[in-house]
């Protein structure tokens, strides 16, 4: 990602962000509210088109006008703060929809895989539950399984634990940690500093639409070089 800029109308949100995430890495983007973290994440899968700069994801130029945005999104899974499961479909159907309708895969084999994914996020018994019948943590794990069903190369997590209570938070974070351990490339926007410290290979601190500081968590979180990073960490810890 090089020199990425994004404005909503006249309001600049990203003002020249450059960063690199290597395959298999887990990185956390931290920073105060309104610093452009979520926008940055949505630029990566083209949900938000960028104003200037360039983003390359698994060999694809995101802002190439010839790019098929749907093909890009098949390679990049995204999980949202509010889970955003489809309420009219069961947990199992939520996971199966995209592989069946978007990839045109065979229903029976997708179902086998979907059940395996539900087992992976420890929700085997909730396959036929509707999202409205599941707890927040359970919904979020279904959402992770739903994104994984597309076999993405990269997973984006947008403050996925922000709406959860401390107990259910943990079950979701454990799921992500397992995923990271298996070598999935994970990009998280998060306020979970403990999680960032344990799991992240790199931490990026953004403020006011620019990347202020980056490095391994022990450096950015424990010995920040920049005054703004120190300020932010002092406020939240």
């Amino acid at each position: 990602m090089r020199d990425v800029e994004k404005s909503f109308g006249a309001v600049p949100v990203l003002r020249g962000v450059s960063l690199t995430v290597h395959r298999g890495e887990t990185v956390c983007i931290i920073g105060p509210s309104g610093s452009g973290k979520s926008t940055l994440l949505r630029c990566i899968n083209g949900l938000v088109p960028i104003t200037a700069g360039s983003i390359t994801v698994a060999g694809r130029e995101v802002n190439d006008p010839k790019l098929d945005p749907l093909a890009l999104r098949r390679d990049v899974g995204i999980v949202f703060q509010q889970y955003n499961l489809f309420p009219h479909r069961t947990a199992l159907q939520n996971i199966m929809m995209a592989p069946v309708h978007v990839l045109g895969q065979d229903r029976a084999s997708v179902e086998t895989r979907a059940r395996a994914l539900l087992a992976k996020v420890r929700l085997t018994d909730k396959a036929d539950g509707f999202p409205g019948e599941l707890s927040g943590g359970q919904q979020q794990r279904v959402a992770i399984a739903r994104a994984l069903a597309m076999n993405p190369k990269v997973m984006l997590f947008d403050e996925v634990t922000a709406a959860l209570d401390p107990e259910t938070k943990k079950e979701v974070l454990v799921t992500i940690q397992e995923l990271a351990g298996e070598g999935m490339t994970c990009i998280l926007v998060t306020h979970e500093m403990g999680f960032a410290r344990r799991v992240a290979d790199q931490v990026f601190f953004t403020d006011g639409g620019v990347l202020v500081e980056e490095g391994p968590p022990e450096q950015v979180l424990d010995a920040p070089r920049e005054a703004r990073t120190r300020d932010f960490l002092d406020k939240i810890l």
Binding site: L47, N84, V102, P131, G132, M150
Partner: protein, 243 residues
Amino acid sequence: MGGPIAGLFRWLNDVHGLNFSVFTDAYDAHRFLIGLRTTIGLSLSCMVFSIILGLLGAWLLSGPSRLARAAVRFYVQAFRNTPPLVQLVFFYFAIGSLLSGAREPLIGGYGWAVISFSLLAGAFNVEIFRSGVEAVPPTMVEAAQGLGFSRLQTYRYVLAPLGLRICLPALTNNLVNLVKTTTLAYAIGVPELLYAASQIWSEVLNVREMMYVLLATYIALVAILVWIMERWERALRIPGYTP
């Protein structure tokens, strides 16, 4: 005509002078049943076509083509802002006369009634479905796009099923109106219920009795429709979800 029902109405006629000829006279009964069948057929055809028009219009309104959006808005305005009877008469006399075949007209009264009422109810359905689709949280669209759904797939698998649940009560209202609007076809001689009833009362001179029968029939028809729609609404209810 025999049977206990015919007997009851014959007694009403003899003793109280109330002539419900549709229950006592085979010819009138036959005419009335043809009217009932025509009304039901007309209503069902118009429901199907108007729902298709509504879905199509709402889809185009949410689309990128400015021309398509303008065309749909013009269509809705044209049919919402003019009286239904004027529309029907316009189609039958103004357009119908342009499309005359060799011997008989290309499209008859029944055909024009289907076209006219479908377009009318369709215009309202466009607005109803649009309101439903717009009430679906934008986060649902984001989730669908994030999974690689195309615009059509997003509409078909997410927006339409969720939006339909939201706008079903409004759709029921419009379909009830549609059933009642089919009586306007009387004006162009389509043998629906009102037409059949008027034929009977002008010959038998039992206007008041036929009015009772007519009103009771519409009450029953609409009650059946509403019952079906409410069952559908209940069947679509999602456990643990309130839109």
